[in-house]
Symmetry: C2
Subunit: 450 residues, 2 copies
């Protein structure tokens, strides 16, 4: 990388119509880099530049522009060139792009696109968000089973320009039923007179278009695949999902889980492209819900008002105890949520995890109890030290178990376990922590309860 | 998938030495599936089964076994067969495997491995954790620039068995300097008499072996690469990192960040393989630190003891106010940590983000202030309502900014921003929240302070 060519020079070359130098630059640089430093060009300048590249490269550069720039290029005077480009774009990328564009822009564009392509676009656009169908592409390479290797390579050569990958080729019969998969590596290594049928791996891993896109990520990771075929209920091929789209899915799902665990409704457009209003809406929901969940905590304190009045020193340790509960619960929940998300543990293993965490919780609780009993002793004497320590032990053990169980319960209820967010657990831990604290305090110092 | 062959039948076939059927099964199934249902076999049975597969497939099946099974297969009677297998394994997989095995097992194995392979193993094992070198492999396909396409394909055919991928081929000179990259697709499409030099993309994206492995993940995602070349300071090729290893890096880094944001020292072995003792150690550190950070909160309450004694109703809203601060701060920190991790925002953009979050924080703060003022009014009257509402506004705006800034500050200090964990922010938010609350309370109800 590190090409010294910058925007003003690019503008100069365009205004001078210095096509030789521009073409040289286009040939030398990676499409992502070209998109990077031509982002600042006007719509006309950009199409002028793209016009100098072969159509395949135009498509590639285009997909690397930010969506706002893509939208500008697709409207107004760019419409004609855009529809020509759409016909050549990879089938999943163009659907992703069209989904981002204004409905109006799309409705203006589609009539200019060839009928077969238009139908493919409408079909791919119809799959629901988060399904395999929404991330698959329909431009894959296929072969019939009964051709020889040298013939197969000739056929692949014809499909190479249109297909997203030719490194994995799907063997299908006349009804388009998936029979097997053969890699280009195997074809290259095979004897020219060998038959595709004899080279192919039968019974390949596949997914269905309606499945959750997380399933495809898990299968691809498990088998180190470059691409995975998507089939319908009759095992007929309808598309493929390639490794780069899988990588995007993994990233997006991780981001979603991160946001959920912090009690944020997931941002689909990314942080930078989300405005103040959208960020507010994604965050305020849980914050307000948690305010009301907190009424329980207020209620507990109110119920024990007299205890508190009689021994105000107890108030000093309120934040310590409820925070420690929340922290322990968040740790446990995060460990379980992540292990469930990566498929490391399954719902059925919940009791094994519970037993393990009972031991972990007890060890953590004893250590924390000791530390906080000392703090309590120094600030409030032996009695307060005992109360704080004993409460801490109960609180840590119990919130740890809550943190472990909540993700399992949510998974069982078919809710994303990441909803067992740290803030939610903190708030739940507060209420139970306060109840434990005041119960222990009342029991130890024998004060009047309400 | 869904092969009905189960462990007892596999045992029966092995004891009957029914090689025809076993070989058929090996040829039909994916290595991951074979590993799956042969996991329960004894060491002798497993080597017997593996012996029936071609050596390349043995390697593949082996890498899909869990590490404990791999270790058993490499010790004792399996040593000889293991070292033969090691010589044929992909260079990164065998290093990963050897790193997991007991030092003693490795020292017993290595003398049986051929010298050149042994040196390659020692070199790859020497890279530090989390560097690109630790995830790269040295078995990649290369071509000189000045060969014709048909000759290039013949050469690739010879490298195909040993190389991790032949879909991207690196063009190097005699000093092994990286000149360019050419895809097998381009070679297949090109005229047989074309020259590799004219087909290759020059100035390819590359990384250095000492760089952080997160860099490689970012580059591969950015450019949708199948593999990325690794070079030394003189631009000489030393390895490649392939897309499947990048996927593992992305997953591991996300898990690390998840653990860090919940104040857990990252588990490198995964949850299931971490025992109670290890889990305790990874969790207790932060929990104890946070107990001591909480001393500040205790101190604040103690300092305002008289205020609290005079208006005990204030205590009812302690959990509500400090939790809301913690929740808001966690949300902000999580958004920023994730956006920094995915490269969506950079350190230099901190002030843009700050301005945006000032607006978001104000909107959130006003809404939350209104809700909590109402709660305060109903429980404690107008004065308490005013105090709670006003405190909430200040707390939300301030903790939101703390949540935004902390990840930037940590990044600036070259600390993983994920250390700005929700528990840490919660605890910091507590202390500031209490201070704000009591300051506002003192100011409004005009009580004696200490």
């Amino acid at each position: 990388m590190g090409n010294p060519l910058l925007l003003p020079e690019l503008r100069r070359l365009l205004s001078e119509k210095n096509e030789t130098e521009l073409r040289e630059m286009l040939a030398e640089l990676h499409p992502a880099s070209i998109a990077d430093f031509s982002e600042g060009l006007s719509v006309e300048e950009t199409w002028e530049l793209l016009g100098l590249a072969p159509i395949e490269q135009q498509e590639e550069i285009f997909t690397f522009y930010p969506h706002s720039k893509q939208e500008q290029l697709a409207s107004g005077a760019g419409r004609e060139r855009m529809s020509a480009l759409l016909e050549r774009m990879s089938h999943d990328d163009r659907v992703d792009l069209l989904k981002e564009l204004d409905d109006e822009v799309v409705e203006n564009l589609l009539p200019l696109v060839a009928k077969a392509e238009r139908e493919d676009i409408r079909r791919l656009m119809s799959y629901a968000e988060h399904t395999v169908g929404s991330v698959m592409t329909t431009d894959y390479a296929i072969l019939p089973p009964d051709v020889l290797v040298d013939e197969a390579i000739v056929r692949l050569r014809h499909q190479a320009l249109a297909a997203e990958t030719i490194y994995f080729v799907y063997v299908v019969d006349q009804q388009h039923t998936l029979l097997g998969v053969v890699s280009l590596r195997d074809l290259i290594l095979a004897k020219p007179r060998a038959m595709v049928r004899d080279l192919m791996q039968t019974d390949p891993v596949s997914v269905k278009a309606e499945q959750d896109r997380e399933d495809v990520a898990r299968e691809v990771a498990r088998y180190d695949l470059l691409a995975i075929p998507v089939v319908d209920s009759q095992n007929r091929m309808v598309g493929i999902v390639t490794h780069d789209d899988v990588a995007d899915v993994v990233k997006e799902e991780a981001t979603e889980d991160f946001h959920l665990t912090a009690a944020i409704a997931p941002l689909t457009k990314g942080y930078v492209h989300s405005g103040v209003g959208l960020l507010y809406h994604r965050r305020i929901g849980w914050l307000i819900i948690l305010v009301f969940v907190n009424l329980v905590s207020s209620g507990v304190i109110a119920a024990y008002e007299e205890v508190l009045a009689a021994a105000l020193t107890l108030a000093f340790f309120l934040p310590l105890l409820i925070d420690s509960g929340g922290n322990t619960g968040s740790q446990a929940a995060t460990l379980i949520i992540r292990a469930l998300a990566t498929g490391e543990i399954q719902l059925a293993n919940w009791w094994k995890v519970l037993v393990k965490e009972l031991a972990v919780g007890l060890s953590l609780g004893l250590t924390m109890a000791l530390a906080s009993a000392l703090l309590g002793y120094f600030r409030g004497g032996a009695e307060i030290g005992f109360i704080v320590g004993l409460s801490m032990l109960f609180i840590v053990v119990i919130t740890n178990l809550v943190g472990v169980l909540l993700p399992f319960v949510l998974t069982r209820l078919k809710v994303d376990p990441a909803v067992a967010s740290s803030p939610l657990i903190t708030t739940v831990a507060d209420a139970s922590g306060l109840l434990i604290y005041f119960t222990v305090a009342t029991w130890v110092i024998d004060l009047p309860t309400t």
